[in-house]
């Protein structure tokens, strides 16, 4: 049982939620990730140094634990985990999913996760993105009748440590302005949709003639094909550093124009204040990043947290569509 998540890079992730597994519950901090479909956390049997830095699940302390023994390997853009499959009760908010399949890591090679603040990952992608024959957490929430609507939504706050929200089974309109614009999911695996174009000052600068985009809470930045990203970095005056990051002058935040994503004939501007990030040392970096080249789809963009902070997003499994509206 191997799943590959070639576009995953958790280096810049900043949003986590708390779930618990087992009876009595054991708490974990997890990334709620629309770009993958597997739930996994470290186990007490994991011997990697990375596991020592995180909460580890102890099956011996759970009366509802069932082991499958099926091996699990998940490869990410920035590392991998290997372990085995198990079943137990998972609690997310007030909801309790019984007999939820999840991975328990035995090994987290390298220093992937060693510096991560989260313990594990909870995937919210389509089932076919995960392990064959395994029902992901969100599917079980629906199948076990725990939520009234087969959809979820993300509100990601840019300012506060608190305030960001995952909504399960419904949408609270106070988190967005105006109307939701719905776009069909073009390939139900990732939360993937068709992007019409990417433009600046009214001129198309990337995705000319259309491309595909993935709405991904598990990616922080805006990633795209190498040639397009290099073009955009040049247009905004960003210079490459030795470690793959692009720096620019901080005062350009006030002068650079919006970069506009057109999706379903609706424009979604991303201002310079969003596509440039300033760190605590007052260095400014571009939030555009080269994505993993996917030979099967060379024009693939990932619209990560940078985009999702600006636009409240509804992930509608019932109708295989994505709703977007300016975040409140």
């Amino acid at each position: 049982a191997v799943t590959y998540e070639p576009m995953r890079n958790y280096l810049d992730l900043v949003y986590i939620g708390i779930i618990s597994i087992g009876t009595p519950p054991q708490e974990f901090r997890v990334v709620l990730d629309t770009g993958s479909s597997v739930l996994w956390v470290p186990s007490i049997y994991c011997s990697s140094p990375a596991c020592a830095h995180h909460k580890a699940f102890n099956p011996l302390r759970s009366s509802t634990f069932l082991v499958s023994g099926r091996p699990v390997n998940v490869a990410y853009g920035s590392g991998e985990m290997s372990g085995f499959l198990a079943y137990d009760t998972v609690r997310i908010g007030d909801l309790t999913v019984v007999a939820q399949a999840f991975g328990l890591s035995l090994e987290e090679p390298g220093i992937f996760m060693e510096y991560a603040v989260f313990d594990g990952i909870l995937g919210l992608g389509y089932p076919n993105l995960g392990l064959q024959g395994i029902t992901p957490v969100f599917d079980n929430l629906w199948l076990q009748g725990l939520i009234p609507q087969n959809l979820f939504a993300f509100y990601l706050s840019s300012k506060d440590e608190k305030g960001s929200m995952l909504m399960l089974g419904g949408v609270d309109p106070s988190y967005y302005h105006g109307e939701l614009h719905w776009v069909p999911v073009s390939k139900p695996s990732y939360w993937q949709l068709a992007v019409d174009s990417i433009s600046m000052n009214g001129e198309v600068i990337a995705c000319d003639g259309g491309c595909q985009g993935i709405m991904d809470t598990g990616t922080s930045l805006l990633t795209g094909p190498r040639s397009s990203i290099v073009n955009i970095q040049n247009l905004i005056g960003a210079k490459a550093s030795g470690d793959g990051e692009y720096f620019l002058k901080c005062d350009t935040i006030n002068t650079l124009p919006d970069i506009v994503f057109t999706i379903g004939s609706v424009t979604y501007p991303v201002p310079a204040s969003a596509y440039i990030r300033k760190d605590r040392s007052h260095n400014c970096r571009s939030n555009f990043e080269e994505g993993m080249d996917d030979p099967s789809d060379p024009e693939m963009w990932v619209l990560g947290d940078v985009f999702l902070r600006l636009y409240f997003t509804v992930f509608d499994r019932a109708n295989n569509r994505i709703g977007l509206a300016p975040a409140a």
Binding site: L11, L156, D172, G242
Partner: protein, 45 residues
């Protein structure tokens, strides 16, 4: 019946690596092509 799960904004792994002055070493040792290599292995086992 809507269930809201609060999310916390945390310091990123990149920031932690940078503050520990191991970011460059990390990126050299674990280039993002790692998953791509694994993907290729799956396609051409």
């Amino acid at each position: 019946c809507l269930v809201k799960i609060p999310l916390m904004k945390i310091k990123s792994m990149r920031e932690n690596l940078r503050e520990s002055q191991v970011l460059k070493d990390y990126l050299e040792k674990y280039p993002r092509s790692r998953a791509h290599v694994l993907l290729e292995q799956r396609r051409n086992p």
